[in-house]
C-alpha cells in the first residue's frame, strides 16, 4: 500500500530511487505510479536531487555493437507521431507580445459575438505521442467546445496545460485557453478556424499560459477532430 503520510511517502520514493526496496514493494510502487501524481513527484524529487551522485561512476566506452543492437530493437515510429509532426509544421513562429494580446482580444470578442449557428459536431480523443491510452476527450459543435481529462489531467507543478487548435493547413496554432486545474475547459462557441475540422493539442506552459501566444513548451497530447453525425 502506498502511504498517505508525507514522510513515509518520501521514504518509499527515496528507497525506490536508491533501489533498496524488496521486489514486491517495488512492483507495488510501479503499479501505483500512473495513478498517483504525488508519488511521481516524490520520485522525481529524489531522481533529480540524488543525480549528482551518478557522476561518481567513471564513464566507460560501451561495446561497439551496442547501438546497432538498440536500433534493431526499436519499433517503427508510431502512427501518433504523424499527428505531432503536423504540430511541428506549425512553424517556430513567435508573435510579439502586442500582437498576441491583440489576437487574444479578437478571439475573445469573436467567441462573444459569433452566432452559435449550425456548426457540425466533432469529437476528438487526445493522446500522448506513441501512447494508446486516451488522455483527454473533446466534443465540439453548436454548443461550443468541451475538453475533459480522462487521465493525466494534472499539470506539473507551477505549469499549466494550454489547449490549442490547429486549423487544416494553418501555419500556427491558435490558443483556446488555459485548462483549469480541474481538467475541464469549456468554450461557448466553436472557433471558426476549426469549424470544418482540424487538430487539437495540449502543451505544457508556464503557469497561466504561454506568454507569447504560441506554444513554448512541449506538446504533450494531440488528437484530430473527427466529424460526428
Amino acid at each position: 500500500m502506498i502511504p498517505a503520510d508525507r514522510d513515509e511517502l518520501n521514504i518509499l520514493a527515496g528507497e525506490y530511487v536508491l533501489g533498496t526496496l524488496e521486489p514486491a514493494t517495488r512492483q507495488e510502487v510501479e503499479a501505483a505510479l500512473s495513478g498517483n501524481a504525488e508519488l511521481r513527484r516524490a520520485i522525481a524529487f529524489w531522481e533529480e536531487r540524488l543525480h549528482p551522485l551518478a557522476a561518481l561512476a567513471p564513464t566507460a566506452e560501451p561495446p561497439p555493437q551496442a547501438w546497432d543492437r538498440i536500433a534493431a530493437r526499436l519499433g517503427p515510429a508510431s502512427p501518433a507521431s504523424t499527428a505531432t509532426r503536423l504540430w511541428q509544421s506549425a512553424a517556430p513562429w513567435r508573435w510579439t507580445t502586442a500582437a498576441a494580446t491583440a489576437a487574444a482580444a479578437c478571439l475573445a470578442l469573436y467567441i462573444a459575438i459569433a452566432p452559435p449557428a449550425a456548426a457540425p459536431s466533432f469529437v476528438a480523443v487526445l493522446r500522448a505521442p506513441q501512447q494508446d491510452q486516451p488522455a483527454w476527450v473533446a466534443t465540439a459543435g453548436g454548443n461550443g467546445l468541451l475538453v475533459r481529462a480522462v487521465a493525466g489531467g494534472t499539470a506539473p507543478i507551477d505549469r499549466s496545460f494550454e489547449l490549442w487548435a490547429i486549423a487544416p493547413g494553418a501555419k500556427q496554432p491558435l490558443s483556446l485557453g488555459v485548462i483549469p486545474a480541474d481538467g475541464r475547459l469549456e468554450l461557448g462557441t466553436l472557433p471558426a478556424a476549426i469549424r470544418s475540422g482540424g487538430t487539437l493539442a495540449i502543451s505544457i506552459e508556464p503557469k497561466g499560459g504561454s506568454p507569447t501566444g504560441q506554444p513554448t513548451g512541449p506538446e504533450v497530447f494531440v488528437g484530430a477532430l473527427i466529424q460526428a453525425r
Partner: protein, 204 residues
C-alpha cells in the same frame, strides 16, 4: 577515469556523425530537445542522444553491475525504454540528464538483482572497491552538486555510507549490511533516517 582499456575516438567520429544527420537534428543541442524529438519518432535524435550520453550511462551501469556484458544489456534495455517512454518525459518534464540516468540505473539494478552478485571480485580491472564517504570530495562544489554534498556531509556517517553505497554501487540493504558490516535492521533504519534528513535538508 576510464578503466575499460578501450581506446576512445570521440571528436572526429562525433563530427562526422553530425554531418550526416539532418539539419534539424544537428541544431538540436540540449538533451531535452533530443528527447522531445525522439518522442515525435526521430531515430536520428535517439542516436544523437546515444552519442552524447552512452559513455556516461554505460559507466553508471558498469559501476552497478560490475560486469561489462550485463552493463551492456542494461544500456540497451535503457535506450529501448528511452525510445518508448520519451513522450512520458515530455509530459512530465524534469531534468533530462537525471531522467536518463534514472532509467539506466533501474535497468542495471534489475539485471544485477536477477543475476545475483557473487561476482564482486570478478575483475579487478573494474575496481572492486565500493564508494566510501570520502568520494563526496569528488562531487562538484558548484551548482546543484553543492547542495547535495553539503546535505550528505550533514548526515551521520553510517546513514551517508548506506545512501552512497545504494545509489552509486546499487547495493541492496543486505549487501550494505555485509559490507559495513552491520546488522540488517540497523542498515534499514539508517537508510530511512538518512532519507528523511536529506529530504528536509534539500527541500527548497
Amino acid at each position: 577515469m576510464d578503466n575499460t582499456g578501450v581506446p576512445r575516438h570521440r571528436g572526429g567520429g562525433r563530427r562526422a556523425l553530425a554531418t550526416v544527420m539532418g539539419d534539424k537534428i544537428r541544431t538540436l543541442s540540449s538533451l531535452q530537445e533530443l528527447i522531445e524529438a525522439a518522442a515525435r519518432g526521430s531515430r536520428a535524435a535517439l542516436k544523437r542522444l546515444y552519442e552524447l550520453e552512452s559513455r556516461r550511462l554505460y559507466g553508471i551501469a558498469l559501476r552497478i553491475t560490475r560486469r561489462p556484458e550485463i552493463a551492456a544489456d542494461a544500456l540497451q534495455d535503457a535506450f529501448v525504454q528511452i525510445w518508448q517512454n520519451a513522450a512520458t518525459f515530455t509530459a512530465e518534464r524534469g531534468e533530462a540528464a537525471a531522467w536518463l540516468a534514472g532509467i539506466v540505473r533501474y535497468r542495471a539494478l534489475d539485471a544485477v538483482r536477477r543475476a545475483g552478485r557473487e561476482v564482486l571480485s570478478d575483475d579487478p580491472a573494474l575496481g572492486d572497491r565500493a564508494e566510501e564517504p570520502d568520494v563526496l570530495e569528488r562531487l562538484d562544489d558548484a551548482r546543484a552538486h553543492g547542495a547535495l554534498k553539503r546535505c550528505l556531509e550533514g548526515l551521520e556517517q553510517n546513514q551517508r555510507r548506506c545512501i552512497v553505497l545504494a545509489y552509486v554501487d546499487g547495493f541492496s540493504q543486505a549487501e550494505i549490511a555485509a559490507r559495513l558490516p552491520a546488522p540488517l535492521g540497523s542498515v534499514k533504519s539508517w537508510v530511512r533516517r538518512g532519507l528523511l534528513s536529506l529530504r528536509s535538508c534539500l527541500e527548497p
